[in-house]
Symmetry: C2
């Protein structure tokens, strides 16, 4: 089978390397690259060449960003080609539109690499759903922020110090907002919820990052035998669902608390299979390339996930409730003292907590907030 | 598709319940049950009825034990029926014979439920192998022994105390040898190695359980920031492989150390995807039933793993080396003091360690041994 790879950055190179060296039945026949970087005969800078090449059965999009990825993916689906992508931003934004085009043309849309890198997460959700309804999911879906918290705890350093080092070493972007403000996790949460609950998940969910996390916050939660992890979460019940992205103070004896470095750990819960957790490299050329090649091989084997999104599940933020701790000098409505300098608000929704955080940040821009989820 | 279920114990009931309630395209048309327990029209006590029923496409074996399971599985494969089984003892013993029969008749042999209960472990190995060679695996594969160590640590109880309670509550068998002496993990390790390395794995591997583990041992390792877990392990390199089952003193900050209750956690390591870990319920009616039904659905979808076992990988116990701690009053050859009452032997094979343990047990039958694996 012949495939085309769009984009020859970290992920695209990984895909080409894995297929060239380790997969016999698949050939990368075209690579879309910038005009000034064409270095081998498979490369072209014209997408029209690729979309009009009837021998190309699968288009693998590794460009990232919304445009032209969105246009190229749609064009490939509309040309009757399967699409494999690692681009979480474009899938989170246009998932329903892509699904409609894929279903209309009877082709596959495969997105394993968009969440959890090399972890077989999307495939595992789809597999679980053959039998079970997924009642909830949650997970560490961003390696950069896990690395930051891990190093802060390990070295006793503060946030900005670790972030600078991570940027120097190439673990964090020069503009780290997408990671530390939870945008990357939001995209992965939207995609996961869409797959797990078979719904075009809302993009209007509460999203809080860890930008204001200090080593004192980690010490404070540490004295309660908890540590902080940035989690994406979702639940469904009785025809309704809710999703959120926020720092969660997890027990130090949980698996989540012990995830090292830049690894990811994602969990699903379902009726008959119970709780399943999946751990692995959430990013990187080869792990993400591996996930993409797995999708390509599924295509070759005739395995093509089909989404529907017509279930009409209602978004109800009231389903996600926790206790929340705010470390702040601001007054927080409905709170009581938790520790000196920190207050607790019991049993509110993620949405309400996000609202209270916005208010507190106006008075004290260093305010940090974390959910305290009850242990199962 | 019509299927037959052999055995109507914990797992068989789970399978029938899940299929009856949650799977539309599959019908359990026959159930093999003891003559005095026939309670519904699908039940028969005659296996001949089932193997001669041309409408039955898949035989699901949930009887356990070697015979008649072995004979029934072979008869089904030879009759051109796919076989799904949760029976680790029979698969570990007759894997190569079953594979030969399945390949000769072009039918599937599906064994997901035989290792790790509801965890999609076998399928994940098979999937990883489409791209990568699996360089190593290891895991907590027995819920009963994990529960025993977990409760010993949590309550400060000793081994026999926790075992009695576990037996009362039905978490452990009245004869617990298969669990606490590592036989159950041995079977799962043999199966995992066979799938991961595509070899008819030797049954002559070093196997050590946790029968002599005391709360003082846990305290001793605890003072080195380690805890004890019973692990099955395997490695392959340069056309050779090795496997072992033994207690391992893992770091308290590892995911393994924090696996609670009777859960399982299994890890594979491969070239491009890196380290992947899978966590879930390793036993129980519904999780194991779920794994079986997943295999049945794979059969329906035409997905049938094919084993070969003709690679000629050589068994070389020299590949698995660690430092070992022996808590014993016996003299141990080549050892130096580790802590009062315990000695350490550096860099020996699992096989050599098992030999040294046998010698020590002759002098001090309470001797406990654990490998100290270097952190990756």
């Amino acid at each position: 089978m012949k495939i085309a790879v769009l984009g020859y950055g970290t992920v695209g190179r990984g895909v080409v390397k894995i297929i060239d060296e380790q997969v016999a039945d698949v050939e990368v026949s075209r690579i879309l690259e910038l005009p000034d970087r064409i270095s081998e005969s498979r490369m072209t800078s014209s997408y029209v060449d690729i979309v009009n090449d009837s021998q190309v059965e699968v288009v693998v999009e590794c460009m990232g960003g919304l445009e032209p990825a969105h246009t190229y993916i749609l064009a490939a689906l509309n040309a009757g080609k399967h699409v494999v992508t690692s681009n979480k931003a474009v899938v989170a934004e246009y998932f329903a539109e892509f699904v409609e085009a894929a279903n209309a043309h009877g082709v596959g849309l495969l997105i394993e690499a968009s969440v959890g890198g090399g972890i077989p997460w999307i495939a595992s959700i789809i597999k679980a759903r053959r039998i079970d309804a997924i009642s909830s999911f949650s997970g560490i879906m961003n390696g950069t922020t896990n690395y930051i918290v891990y190093k802060m705890l390990k070295d006793g350093s503060d946030f900005s110090e670790v972030l600078s080092k991570a940027q120097e070493m190439g673990y964090a972007e020069r503009d780290p907002s997408a990671d530390i403000d939870g945008i990357d996790v939001r995209n992965k949460t939207v995609i996961t919820a869409s797959v797990a609950f078979d719904v075009a998940c809302t993009k209007e969910l509460p999203v809080t990052g860890i930008r204001t996390l200090s080593k004192h916050d980690l010490a404070l939660f540490g004295s309660h035998e908890r540590t902080v992890k940035l989690l994406g979460r979702g639940v469904q019940r009785d025809g309704r669902y809710a999703v959120a992205v926020e720092p969660v103070a997890v027990s130090t004896s949980s698996l989540e608390a012990n995830v090292p470095s830049n690894f990811n750990l994602v969990t699903l819960d379902a009726d008959t299979v119970g709780e399943l957790k999946f751990y692995g490299q959430g990013a990187g050329s080869l792990p993400t390339g591996n996930a993409i090649v797995q999708d390509v091989l599924d295509c070759t084997a005739g395995i093509r996930p089909r989404y529907d999104f017509s279930r009409g599940l209602e978004y109800d933020p009231g389903l996600l409730r926790s206790d929340y701790v705010f470390r702040t000098e601001a007054d927080v409505e409905g709170s009581r003292l938790f520790e000196p300098g920190a207050v607790l608000v019991s049993d509110i929704t993620s949405e309400r907590a996000r609202g209270l955080l916005d208010e507190a940040l106006r008075t004290d821009p260093t305010t940090f907030m974390a959910a305290i989820v009850k242990e199962s």
